[in-house]
Amino acid sequence: MYEFTYIKPGSLPEASDLLTRHEGAKPLSGGMTLIPTLKQRLSQPSHLVDLTGLAALKGIALVEGRLEIGAATRHVEVATSTVVRESLPALAALAAGIGDPQVRNRGTMGGSVANNDPAADYPSAVLGLAATVHTDRRSIAADDFFQGMFATALEPGELITRISFPLPERAAYAKFPHPASGYAMTGVFIAVTGGVVRVAVTGAGPGVFRWTDAEAALQASFSPAAIAGLEVDATDLNADIHAPAAYRANLVRVMALRALETLQTSSKGQ
């Protein structure tokens, strides 16, 4: 790691101010991506602004029929929260499968969503549920938030404060973990919210995206048969030493089918 100065601000405005004032400053939440990056000397921030002490970023609550989760909420808290398990079990299940226990005990929802790693799990839930990302400046719809590999609508210094999820009639997530890293090689989040089907895919492409063909097919008939014959265009999907794009295209359909299987065994998903 290169040298940096660590600061743990006491308030959100203070954090925001620090991040705006120091051009080389970076926010630090669970650090599960940032710290390994620093260790590899792939990033050289001047300051790290630790957000985990900010009360404004904490908490899980049902508010007016929506599930609101503070940005600094750790994956383990989402996975084990009674409120999440009862109101949005697919999200709890997703959180319970992120990384490994040590990662879930540190990593946070806000950190994951702000980082927008193309193989992260949470972005698929945020996009699949058409959640709203609240920041210290504004509210951003999921469809506008994610802008490709590691890119989001966040402006410099802007911080996610909480994410607000509508409660779906049903939702499920299925992922195929990368054999080495455990990240999603492909993860598919399917949700029916207010009668509208959304299918969000992570891991397979350069960033989370919606599989609109499947959405249309499932909207017409919410069954595995509706998508079993769909082809996924591999053109823009990731290809690397681990798998060609065609394999990931296949996984998109297979994981979507597995998510649907989950839904068949439980009315709300799990």
């Binding site: 660590y6 650090g31 390994p36 790290l48 630790d50 985990t52 490994d100 226990p101 040590q102 990662v103």
Partner: protein, 160 residues
């Protein structure tokens, strides 16, 4: 530089470190607790696993400054302190030895700390839960066969 105060294995300690210092290096270099091992640099192997405020974490992926004010338990603090001779092992340590769940021993401290964390949350895990619970730890010697066995034995010992 920052002064970091924390509790390690029940003892209050304070160290002056650069902000870029990892918790693992404070444990190993400043406090001489070399039972916490470093097996990789990408947070995959889990050899550095300790308990931070009662939760398992990889101490190579936590800055020491982030751990200020926290309670840390390392492998050296796991065995019951009521036995001044140190002869008594924690049931997980005991089970690892009895089930031959370690060979070279390098991954073992992290593995044992991860298992104690797992059993705290899941006192009676089935095989799938054990496998899922060990996803953050690599072992190259045992093929995991006897580790899984040791987790089951430790679980029943802890429930007894």
């Amino acid at each position: 530089m920052s002064q970091v105060s924390l509790t390690v294995n029940g003892k209050a300690v304070s160290v002056d470190v650069e902000d870029r210092t990892l918790l693992s290096s404070v444990l190993r270099e400043n406090l001489g607790l070399t039972g916490t091992h470093i097996g990789c640099d990408t947070s995959q192997c889990g050899a550095c696993t300790v308990h931070l405020d009662g939760r398992v974490v990889k101490s190579c992926t936590v800055l020491a400054v982030q751990a200020a004010g926290s309670d840390v338990m390392t492998i050296e603090g796991l065995a019951p302190s009521h036995d001044p001779s140190g002869a008594t092992l924690h049931p997980v340590q005991q089970a690892f030895s009895e089930c031959h769940a370690l060979q070279c021993g390098f991954c073992t401290p992290g593995m044992i700390m991860a298992v104690t964390g797992l059993l705290k949350d899941t006192p009676d895990p089935d095989e799938q839960q054990i496998i899922h619970g060990l996803e953050g730890n690599l072992c190259r010697c045992t093929g995991y066969v006897n580790i899984v066995k040791a987790v089951k034995q430790a679980a029943s010992a802890l429930r007894a």
